[in-house]
Homo-oligomer: 343 residues x 3
């Protein structure tokens, strides 16, 4: 179903192959030879398509899907409509991801360098890299193998980038060391000097920002996100962490491994975040605080103090999740009383 103008379908697969590929169990093994021609969402899937059910909000859509087959959790397989074979899997979203990548494998860039790219003579570019139109690569930059530097990206002097990275259009990177398999989306700005100045009656005095940005491998950084370099210490983004669009990360911030930072989050300077933490969209974190490993910060929360490992917090100022819900309930009740007394 994917638009052929944008996506290349790699082929068809038999259900049995897809079950094997994804570690799924067929609800009807006799249909292992059925040919699947594409993936599609539940509501628009047609007879030869493969879909998935992950969010329970879509159970009704699942019940009426025309998909030939569907990834689904064991406990929901019984709800499948007749004619839809279930590929039963404890993580149907992941199974779908694997299958969809078989139908639509990532395309290799063509390993060409645009004539309009400005690559400094001292820069070292690995093999099979693609350097697009207008890209600017400064002195002593090192870029690993199979990277793509998209149009107009600007990579400043001394930056080092590992293998298999994708640097989006209009990205600016300076003062940074970047691992392998890092994807940076368009417009992100990595390594500008942090928002650091001393204040007194004479005004502001800029504090030289002498640190770097260290981005470990397999990190993803969203479009128009900004990550300031350290002031002396480094700003660090841990391995595997996913950062969404329009996020602000201040100087000296340390983010652990495999964190999820949703769009428009702001993290003030020198704050430290443990591994596997999740920050909901638009959450704001004060500076110089610590967020423990596995902590979950709800969307729009305002964090002004340390959050312990595994804690879930919500609100602005943030409190433990349950307290936040109780506060909302109490407040609603009081407002209702007030309304009653007014009438």
């Amino acid at each position: 179903m994917a638009d052929r103008r944008f996506f290349r379908l790699a082929g068809s697969f038999e259900l049995g192959h897809l079950a094997g590929l994804t570690g799924s169990t067929l609800s009807d093994p006799s249909r292992a030879g059925v040919k699947i021609t594409d993936v599609a969402p539940l509501d628009i899937a047609e007879r030869e398509h493969l879909s998935f059910l992950d969010n329970k909000k879509y159970i009704e859509t699942f019940r009426s899907t025309k998909a030939a087959a569907c990834f689904v959790r064991p406990e929901l397989a019984a709800l499948a409509p007749e004619g839809t074979v279930c590929l039963v899997n404890r993580n149907p979203y992941k199974a779908y991801a694997i299958a969809a990548a078989a139908f639509y494998p990532a395309e290799k860039p063509k390993a060409v360098r645009a004539a309009s790219a400005a690559v400094h003579e001292t820069a070292i570019i690995g093999e099979d890299c693609t350097i697009e139109e207008g890209a600017v690569i400064g002195a002593n930059v090192r870029i690993g193998a199979r990277c793509r530097v998209q149009a107009h990206a600007v990579i400043r002097e001394g930056v080092e980038i590992g293998d298999d990275c994708d640097i989006g259009a209009h990205v600016t990177i300076s003062h940074a060391l970047v691992g392998s398999k890092v994807r940076i989306y368009p417009g992100a700005c990595i390594g500008r000097q942090g928002f650091g100045f001393a204040i007194d009656a004479a005004g502001f005095t800029a504090v030289p920002q002498l640190g770097r940005v260290l981005i470990e491998s397999d990190v993803e950084i969203g479009a128009n996100t900004t990550i300031d370099r350290g002031a002396g210490p480094d700003t660090v983004i841990g391995q595997g962490t996913r950062i969404d669009n329009l996020v602000q990360i201040g100087h000296n911030v340390k983010i652990g491994k495999y964190c999820i930072i949703v769009a428009q989050v702001g993290i003030s300077g020198s704050t430290q975040i443990g591994d596997f933490a999740m920050l909901g969209g638009q959450a704001g974190l004060a500076g110089h605080i610590k967020i423990g490993s596995g902590a979950k910060v709800a969307a729009q929360s305002g964090i002004t103090r340390d959050v312990g490992a595994g804690e879930e917090v919500m609100g602005s100022p943030a409190v433990p999740l349950r307290q936040s819900m109780r506060q909302a309930a109490v407040l609603a009740k009081l407002a209702l009383k007030k309304k009653g007394s007014e009438e």
Copy 2:
């Protein structure tokens, strides 16, 4: 009054002409022949200028304006200072908009193609388009007539754009079909893959994002705004919708027609918004919810559940507008009591 370095004045107009053009009534018809040389804000307007009063906050400024004439609602016309003719109109802001556009008509781009633009040989560009310096237009792109593709904009393979569109500097567009009369401001990123990955103990597995961004006609998209493409379904922006700067729109989001999305709003994946909805600045919407037509979401609200058609909500978590105001009042009162008991 507009700075001649940036704006070209098209000429002078008689009051009678301006009244006719905007459907306004002159408070003093004998002055229909008065010549107006320019438009200007109330406080700096001079004797031959035309101004407007829309927001009641500026009534005092209106009372002392030196403007020769002023668009104003019927009920406020009596407050005009002597010497200022009123152009009475139920929608003075719109009337001013029409008049100002007569004084300062939008300039046509010059329909030239910069030598430094990189236009793929298979791209089809309509007549009278302007393609500025460094623009990159990929394979099989189709662009309608009279479009302007500003400096360094990057339009990826297969994208289709209608007539009379304006694509700002440093914009990136991929996986998108764009209608006519669409204006996209600098730095916006349209069509990056959404923030989608399956999570398990092994880490994150990227889910191929196989949908598109569909932007209907007459849409406006603000600077540095990010709109992710669908994951399978499409991300859709309905006709006429106005999106401000720094807004984040996640994958699969459907926005209806003529919505107003103020700056820094964040809309999570798969959420649906009806026609004529208004989202105040910095509002955040959770994923997989529905906002009814004509709903109004106050600035900074956090929306975690469906909002009905025409409902007005406020707060984080959001509640109906009146309840939100009552909650604020109750809370202020309790805090005052606490203060009293502390003293």
Copy 3:
């Protein structure tokens, strides 16, 4: 300690020289001849390094630092470890800033113009300017001396820029007059037309945006920040003001001198802010309101009414700081009661 790939160390200095340069007093004047080779954060400083203690959160780190010398406030000097000489100063952060700038002075750009820059024949560029790859400079633009226009920046027709400015990569500037010593970081968009349209049953009518953006001297504007031009009045950023990343400033906004606007703040149209005001991260301000000089708006606050000079406010909707804290305390207590009654 700064990474030599990114920073050039200018030399070593004796302690006595650094004390004089920064107006500090040596805790042990006999050590004025000690040679300092570099600056470094407290925790990683080594024997010949200079550090500073500003935030009391780091007192324990100070007690165990190996730094040869440290800027510190008078009342904390006694806590220095043996072997660390104190440079006593009432503003250790500023003193450090001055010293660090001695070790790492800002580098002068090389005053070259890239062949790929597109400079209009009518533009006037001052002496010793650096114009980088792909920069686009329009008709009648005037740029002062010693400016740097970074790669792919786009400066539109008629814009004027003073001396010693730094315009970042991918910045877009139109309809603007910019003072001297202004620094604009990558991706900022200055001067787009504001979010202005009249609304009626027929839809939206664009209101011509005929004002400018006036940026006074010594202003700093963060990465991917957006500043809309005035609608008729101008948008004004006062001298010395520091604006962080991803900030949105609407049309007609007036910001006073030496304000601090932290990341992701949003300021709606026509709002006025006095001198020396501070807006915390993610704060949102409604339109047409006034914030007095020296006011402090806490992070994430939502401001819907005027704030008096020197007032401190917090919350959404914002209330005076102490009231906000009392409200949070009252609410927490009520939630605790509710919890008790549930158990």
